[in-house]
Symmetry: none
Subunit: 205 residues, 4 copies
């Protein structure tokens, strides 16, 4: 699953790949994967064509690299470590939602790339994305179940609900252009409240 390389010096690999990721991210976010050429990445990263291919086997590899980087930045931005993930207390839900949406604003271009490319059949990214995605949904599902057992949430189908809420949280990224002239806090507040009311035990349905 790891992106391979011929280069032995680990530190160099990590340094060069940072260059690649930084350059490629910007380009992919702006123009999309297909519309970005290796030459552009080469130029923007300061690596020659040959070097580029010393640290990466293909253009697809770069997408994987960028993809992983986005995930990682998202996670670290949330202040969660890899293990704990979203597996938190139901009581924290509002807090989590709030922080997640903040992230969505910050990383909206990146999230858009993720959604876009998740549908293209690029094998590698595809598989990895789905794996991580599945984990996220599972973690969130557990949280909902916990809340349900504790009587703080009312949930019909936990898996569907988890999936749904994760989509709602992505609203700021997915619908960026549409919401661009609405105050950020207003958006976050509206969505958060909507989710909480949707989970609330008070309404009869």
């Amino acid at each position: 699953m790891e992106v391979q390389t011929n280069i032995k010096n680990k530190d160099l690999v990590s340094k060069r790949r940072k260059q690649i990721i930084t350059a490629a991210s910007k380009l992919f976010f702006e123009k999309g994967f297909d519309q970005t050429t290796m030459r552009e990445i080469s130029r923007a990263s300061g690596l020659t064509m040959g070097s580029l291919y010393d640290y990466v086997r293909s253009k697809d590899d770069i997408l994987v690299l960028v993809y992983k980087d986005v995930i990682e930045r998202f996670r670290s931005g949330l202040g969660l470590n890899e293990k704990a993930d979203l597996d938190v207390n139901p009581g924290n839900l509002e807090n989590i939602l709030h922080r997640s949406m903040k992230q969505m604003y910050k990383l909206s271009k990146a999230v858009q790339l993720l959604y876009r490319e998740s549908w293209s059949r690029r094998k590698n990214v595809h598989l990895q994305m789905r794996e991580i995605d599945r984990t996220n949904v599972e973690n969130f599902t557990r949280l909902l179940l916990k809340g349900q057992q504790e009587g703080s949430f009312q949930v019909i189908n936990p898996v569907v609900t988890a999936d749904l809420i994760l989509l709602m949280v992505a609203l700021p990224a997915i619908r960026e252009w549409s919401l661009s002239n609405i105050d950020q806090e207003e958006v976050i507040d509206t969505v958060t409240k909507f989710i909480l009311r949707g989970l609330s035990t008070e309404g009869r349905v």
Copy 2:
């Protein structure tokens, strides 16, 4: 705004374009716009390269054609005419949501294409998509405001909420693979109920 053609016979244009749309839709849904070649569309549609370009000026034109077709199919599938659109009685909301999600299941590949390409900078489609999208959100916003005035809905920011609900309705399409082994009715029911509870006046927030 109309896609132009060299061909004078209107009936033929509409017949050939149907061929083109059918062929291209399948390919675009499957492989994406960039990964589909004109030759593939030519082969799949049964038109020679030259003929293809008699009915369409560019590959982008085909995307516009497919895009309009998806919108149209979605609309007609909802059983709403263009005028009435989504501007219906608040009491019908559940009904509308249900039918919309049914459509999302049926047209999931198409909806995925719409989302994917809405982010690429292909001007023509881009502009048209955003225009229609804006109209949809506005219509739904009006519906929410009406419901709010009549005391049947509780809404914080109607525009954001409209945008949010329209995204939620698209869940079956956007998250197709994730929900593939969950019963369709279960998904629709869960989402519908979640939305209704989110709009409910009973919960205090």
Copy 3:
């Protein structure tokens, strides 16, 4: 040597060809032969593609048609009939030069086309152009010889001189852009005088 056609009705042929020539001339003058498409000629002439090819066998045929038309218009503009041609009284030389250059101004675009295409290897036009051209040179050569015998002209090589003078007369067309802001009469006068002095018996050489 005649451009052929399948159509029997002679009057119709001549009418339709006039349409073709008018349309094609404009386009050829403006964009050049290679850059003009048959579709454009079809549109501009008001004939359908099929009809076009009923009155003409190929695009090259149209060039021949346009070419002949230019020659004809040039001749008739000079007020000379085909027989007499340029074989006139030496005393008239100044008059002829003047009128010819007037024509060059009027038909400059056409003359430019002639020069341009005379160098391309388009067989038909090529041959016809050279034939007519040869005749012109021969006629003018005779005129010079006559003048020489009568002692009014001094000429080293009559053939070369004829060729040279015919080129000089074309100055307004060949160098159109360069001379565009110089008074027409001034140009004509300068060239005419230069030629006459070049032929003059007074200068010792």
Copy 4:
């Protein structure tokens, strides 16, 4: 103004471009710009399609390259450096005319290309050609004025006369086929004498 390239090695660029110019010149001279394909240039130059486009951005670029090369060869063939150009002592006129026409014979195909393409609307070449052309005319105009002041030439309009003489000098190239069976020296002599007599102060006009 310079034709750009992706290649960094300057020497290589200049070597490969020589290949391209050599190959393209031959083809352009023979068949014209429009009738020459990139594949032909590729084959004739010994460069693959990809390489070709590494040294040149477009087919038009090649025309510019060929054009500049022709100008350069013409200049260096005259034995004049760029500065001195045609701005020489009036007494040398006969000498200059003679050498120029020698060049015209040698480079007739190239000069024909220049005239041909000067009329096509290919912006790049167009502009450059006109610029250089203007300079030539200006230089020659100055020479005539000097001669006029010194009393060695009689000139009506110096600009027109300069333009005219430069056209006359091109006779061997423009009228190549027509003059092909006349002795080269005879042609040059006839034209030179004609020009000198045309400028002569002895004839009254």
